[in-house]
């Protein structure tokens, strides 16, 4: 297959491209290699070099190149009974840096996407407050606001891997996460506007969607760093991310980041709502279950290479890339192993290092073409190290569903393909 064929075949499936790339990489050497008569992409004049392209305003809201059409959120149909209460996954293996583009942020809904005209949206504060209040979106935009980058990880991210490696791709094993810059009002300012009574210990945000999602949050967290956000990455929240208003609960499980936020009740006890009793509680081997397990502990994953992003260029220079994050602050170090955890090298963190935000790491190696067992291990600013999956299983059993932050292993084979495995 020639290079030209690849570049002109946007409709080829990702899998077909991968196979093609692999075949080229192994059989014909590196893509773009010179031929006796020269690469036709260089020696022949290409259409895009001769003819005018589309003018300005041909894409009033810009969209990715047609050659990137495989870079999309994907779901796993067998996971859930209906798409309205389901989840899809961020294509981590296609992304770089520390920011997730808005259209690729994974979705988790419990009653579908509520479509709300911001003029029809209200935020109510009630309960143990001096004055129960109602705000319009206009009102909220008159409060002082902040910009903060935070990751949002679903508590069930990697939840399908408790009993062993199951899904082949970091999009599926680790893709219930995104990292975005939010613009919003500190929740503290909004609560203080209503006046918090002295016996108030908890708040309960509520969504306006068909699940009327609710969670109990301790007042200490509400007054610390929670935001009532209306923008993500500079533009309005996407409908599937809670437009026009969502709660941001930095470092804590995604289910608490109530979307389509319409009400915050203040109380003296938690409410024990469905999503903090029946769900989002962690069943242990003993039959006991932990509740209110809010913090997302330090975690990392190698995103490239990974099962959906095999090595196509053969041996030689290889960029091992990945992401790390901690709900307890900054990531201070990521170690990478290429032999299944026997020996480790400290990777290079690159890009901004912000608390409770995604971090990017790289390890640049000279691959000899032999099998690799790739792992990454994150450490946060509190000295907490990401555990192995077996350490977690020993402590909790295999039925916790949530909070699986164990070390992931990818088996990179000599032909460049990659598989999700578990190791001794």
């Amino acid at each position: 297959m020639s290079d030209k064929t690849v570049s002109q075949s946007p409709n080829l499936s990702r899998r077909a491209l991968l196979k093609a790339g692999l075949a080229t990489g192994v059989a014909a050497g590196a893509v773009g290699a010179a031929r006796a008569d020269g690469d036709p992409l260089i020696t022949e004049i290409q259409d895009w070099n001769r003819y005018l392209g589309e003018g300005v305003q041909s894409r009033p809201y810009g969209t990715p190149s047609e050659f990137e059409s495989h870079v999309v959120r994907r779901d796993v149909e067998w996971l859930t009974a209906s798409t309205e209460s389901s989840v899809n996954f961020t294509p981590l293996h296609e992304l770089d840096g520390i920011i997730t583009p808005n259209g690729l942020c994974f979705e988790r809904h419990h009653g579908g996407i509520a479509e709300i005209n911001p003029a029809d949206h209200r935020l109510m504060i009630n309960g143990l407050v001096d004055t129960p209040l109602v705000f319009t979106m206009e009102d909220l935009k008159r409060f002082p606001r902040e910009n903060r980058v935070y990751f949002l990880e679903c508590a069930a991210n990697s939840g399908m891997e408790w009993r062993g490696s199951q899904l082949n791709g970091c999009q599926y094993t680790h893709g219930m996460i995104h990292s975005v810059m939010y613009t919003g009002v500190p929740l503290k300012l909004i609560l203080e506007e209503a006046g918090i009574k002295t016996n108030a210990k908890w708040v309960m945000p509520e969504g306006a969607d068909a699940s009327a999602m609710t969670r109990s949050i301790p007042m200490e967290k509400a007054l610390d760093d929670c935001l009532v956000a209306f923008k993500m990455n500079g533009e309005a929240l996407r409908p599937e991310q809670g437009y026009p208003l969502r709660l941001v609960v930095p470092g804590w499980e995604g289910n608490m980041w109530i979307k389509w936020l319409r009400r915050i009740e203040v109380g003296d006890e938690p409410w024990h709502q469905r999503e903090e009793t029946s769900k989002y509680t962690d069943l242990l081997e003993s039959g006991k279950a932990r509740r209110f397990t809010w913090v997302m502990d330090a975690k990392s994953v190698v995103t490239n290479p990974s099962p959906q992003a095999p090595v196509t260029h053969g041996k030689g220079p290889l960029v091992i890339s990945g992401v790390a994050w901690s709900g307890n602050g900054r990531i201070t170090r990521v170690d990478v192993s290429i032999d299944g955890g026997r020996n480790w090298k400290t990777a290079r963190l690159d890009g901004p290092s912000l608390p409770k935000a995604m971090h990017r790491f790289y390890l640049d190696i000279d691959w000899d073409g032999s099998d690799l067992l790739l792992q990454s291990r994150a450490m946060d600013e509190n000295g907490y190290f990401q555990p192995t999956k077996n350490e977690l299983r020993a402590a909790r059993g295999e039925n916790s569903i949530y909070h699986n932050n164990g070390i992931q292993t990818w088996h990179v084979k000599a032909d460049g393909t990659v598989e999700n495995v578990e190791v001794s």
Partner: protein, 379 residues
């Protein structure tokens, strides 16, 4: 004419006559799109519509009942089709008015559309996905394209609630009080409309009551299609009953009876979010009755005459309440061990692969994906 069709035609003379007398479909497909939201949890229409809990409804008009390939109908629906039932505006109207009255034994749990205009509108909407018009004289109406207004409307714009204040006259006025004086005071009615949450101590419970016996019928009509007649769950929909003493087993069954700590959560959740796709549609008494029935399905009450009310609610405790503990992750060894982790020769021998995902490859797009039912879940 079969017995079934005779019975059906009797039904028409009472229920569907107004539709027949109209020359064209009276319904408005745009309004019907909104009515269809009640159906959308179970039925898909439009491009790539697939069978869900119910069959997809593209080309439903002109289709023989119970005959769509790939959907598992009730025996009753298949029989109705075999006896000659074909969907047109008349048969559909009768069915949607009271599904169980027309097809006794239908799987469709939906109780029916009471308002004639809702019926007409939803049928007009469905007609936009069928090339065969519901009936001959309606061809023109059914062929009309959807207008842009068909876009999803917000719940706030529902006809039964007051229209929101126009943007030019915001309801909020600057008020005295907080540091910024932003927002306005919430009225008692507004707080009452949204503050429907209930705590384990019973705070928030509305006055009312319902019995196990009342709950059985309500459950059968509103819940059983997804959760099963006995709370056993259909497909991957949540299991609500049973599972006692399974929490330490390899495959625990987490139900209201086996896992949930508080009954208040059942009432609160059913009231705020159920039935799925038609939230806030049941009365407070109905929810007491359904909650009572769920207690019965879980053997927590055994008397069919048992009546649950705001008076006795807080006295009832679920069996697993004491098995919930605080987050003590920080006591696990890998948290307490603050030593620098090993960097070299950390394992005695070369590492072995102990498990591969391809053994059970349930990844979307993989060879075995089609009949996959993987382990674990997200919820």
């Amino acid at each position: 004419m079969s017995k079934f069709l005779k019975a059906l035609s009797l039904g028409f003379s009472l229920a569907a006559l107004p539709v027949f007398t109209g020359a064209a479909l009276a319904g408005d497909p745009d309004k019907g799109a909104k009515v269809f939201k009640k159906c959308a949890a179970c039925h898909a229409v439009g491009e790539n519509a697939k069978n869900k809990v119910g069959p997809q409804l593209n080309e439903v008009f002109g289709r023989t009942a119970g005959a769509l390939e790939g959907y598992k109908y009730s025996k009753a629906m298949i029989k109705a089709g075999e006896e000659g039932l074909v969907w047109d505006d008349a048969t559909m109207t009768t069915y949607l008015e009271k599904p169980k009255a027309m097809i006794k034994g239908t799987k469709m749990a939906f109780a029916g559309l009471r308002k004639q205009e809702d019926l007409e509108n939803v049928i007009a909407y469905l007609a936009t996905f069928s090339s065969a018009a519901p009936s001959a004289e309606d061809a023109q109406s059914a062929a009309e394209p959807e207008t842009p207004e068909a876009e999803v409307e917000t719940a706030a714009a529902d006809a039964t609630t007051p229209a929101p204040a126009p943007v030019s006259a915001p309801v909020s006025a600057t008020r005295e009080g907080g540091a910024l004086g932003l927002g306005r005071v919430a009225t008692e009615d507004e707080v009452a409309a949204w503050d429907i949450d209930i705590r384990p101590d019973g705070e928030g419970l509305p006055a009312g009551s319902g019995t196990v016996a009342d709950g059985e019928g309500l459950y059968s009509d509103n819940c059983a299609v997804c959760h099963g007649d006995f709370g056993e769950g259909v497909g991957r929909w949540p299991v609500l009953a049973g599972g006692q003493d399974t929490l330490t087993e390899e495959r625990p069954e987490k139900t209201i009876g086996s896992y949930w700590p508080y009954l208040s959560t059942v009432y609160d959740y059913v009231r705020r979010a159920m039935p799925y796709g038609n939230a806030r549609s049941m009365s407070d008494d109905d929810i007491y009755a359904i909650t009572a029935y769920l207690l019965y399905l879980n053997d927590i009450v055994e008397d069919e005459d048992f009546e649950l009310s705001n008076e006795n609610f807080a006295e009832i405790h679920l069996p697993n309440e004491d098995n919930f503990i605080a987050d003590d992750r920080s006591e696990e060894t890998h948290y307490t061990d603050k030593n620098e982790p090993c960097m070299s020769n950390c394992k005695d021998s070369p590492v072995e692969i102990t498990m591969r995902s391809r053994i059970l490859d349930v990844t979307p797009g993989s060879v075995d994906d089609d009949n996959a039912a993987g382990m674990g879940g997200v919820d």
